[in-house]
């Protein structure tokens, strides 16, 4: 039956079904939902607290060279230029490729968000996105390409996972 048929063959059935009264869940679902939402906002403190702590740490590290007397020995103080010199040319090429791949994946994911995700994929997607956020915070703390390379690899892997979730929106129905 084509969409045109839908309009001509049995329009009265569609109208009759649409005219059936709507119902609301009884008892009211909102109190449970509000409680669950509030609990989930409290529970995953690590989701927000860890990136926040890292961000705070980054800010302190950025200010550290201004007061070297208080700088712990483990804090890297090398400049981006010196790090660049230490990085093999192959790493440069890999880093450039990872940047490119990352951008391509992000563009694809942004275009794929029009498609709704089912609840299971929604849950998976939010976890992966949180992990990407964490990697981004860590990337903000790197002082050179050598530090950044493993993080960019991790970021691309996570983006690929996210793209897979986005691409499989009908996977459950097809199973």
């Amino acid at each position: 039956m084509s969409d045109r048929d839908r309009m001509t063959s049995a329009p009265s059935l569609a109208d009759a079904l649409r005219a059936l009264p709507q119902a609301a869940p009884q008892p009211d679902l909102w109190p449970d939902l509000a409680q669950a939402l509030a609990a989930r906002r409290r529970r995953p403190w690590r989701r927000y607290a860890l990136p926040a702590a890292l961000a705070a740490g980054i800010a302190m590290l950025a200010l550290a060279p201004l007061s070297t007397t208080t700088l712990p020995p483990a804090v890297p103080t090398q400049t981006a230029a010196t790090t660049k010199a230490d990085t093999p040319p192959t790493a440069d090429a890999e880093l450039a490729a990872l940047h490119q791949r990352s951008q391509a994946l992000e563009r694809w994911i942004a275009s794929a968000t029009v498609a709704p995700l089912d609840s299971r994929d929604l849950m998976a997607a939010v976890e992966v996105e949180d992990m990407i956020g964490l990697v981004d915070v860590q990337l903000g703390a790197t002082r050179g390409d050598a530090d950044a390379l493993p993080l960019w690899r991790q970021r691309v892997t996570l983006l690929e996972d996210l793209a897979t979730i986005r691409a499989n929106r009908y996977a459950i129905a097809a199973n």
Binding site: M1, D3, R6, A10, S12, L13, A14, D15, A16, L17, R18, A19, L20, P21, Q22, A23, A24, P25, L29, W30, D32, L33, A34, A36, L37, A38, R40, R41, T113, V114, A115, P116, L117, D118, S119, L122, M123, V126, E129, Y170, I172, A173, A174, N175
Partner: protein, 211 residues
């Protein structure tokens, strides 16, 4: 309720498309994205009836429908910060409710075919029985359809999904969706026909949910 009254009442409620098609103000969405609980409740209240009614029509069970709406709403409201506004909000929610309901239907009931006579497709001079039926009779007849047949009929006629979309969502073929719409309509016609309804008391369903 007499048929004429029910039809008059029905026509007052007629809508041109899915009752899900509710636009959420951008200001409400913005507040909800910031985690404003009152904005989240506003969104919930706007959609609780269409969401629950859809789940109830697909599942035919009050408790299961409540569970589906609860889970769908929770997932949606948790993720609302990531809603980019590049697709209608109501479409996003409706798809989640449909997916959750179909998953539950699949999980809790194995769906097996039973033979049902083909709809002969002969147009009748008589008005369709659902035009004359009151709400209670139509509700009752709808409830007697097998769950998957009822779901396909509802998704097609009320939510206006295409056969292709229904096939993808149910994991069946396009022809399956088409045949369920035709046979479901035919079965509904028979169930609402007083002369035939007694015969159908003993008839086997076209699709049977197996435990």
């Amino acid at each position: 309720m007499p048929a004429t009254k029910s039809r008059a009442a029905a026509s007052d409620r007629l809508v041109s498309a899915s009752s899900f098609q509710i636009d959420v103000p951008e200001t409400t969405l913005a507040r909800a994205r910031r985690g404003d609980l009152r904005a989240l409740e506003q969104i919930y209240r706007a959609f609780e009836r269409p969401a629950y009614s859809l789940a109830l029509r697909l599942l035919g069970n009050v408790e299961n429908a409540r569970e589906v709406v609860h889970d769908a709403m929770l997932h949606l409201l948790e993720r609302i910060g990531q809603f980019r506004g590049d697709a209608p909000f109501w479409g996003w929610l409706r798809q989640i409710v449909v997916n959750e309901a179909l998953m539950k239907l699949r999980r809790e009931r194995g769906i097996a075919f039973e033979e049902l006579p083909e709809d002969d497709g002969t147009p009748s001079a008589e008005p369709a029985p659902w035009m004359l039926a009151d709400v209670a009779h139509l509700e009752s007849a709808l409830a007697r359809l097998p769950p998957l047949t009822r779901s396909v009929l509802w998704l097609y006629h009320v939510e206006e999904y295409t056969h292709q979309e229904i096939a993808e969502m149910t994991g069946k073929s396009v022809s399956f969706s088409k045949s369920q719409v035709m046979r479901g309509s035919s079965r509904l016609r028979d169930l609402l026909d007083p002369a035939l309804s007694e015969l159908h008391e003993e008839a086997a369903p076209c699709l049977t949910a197996t435990a």
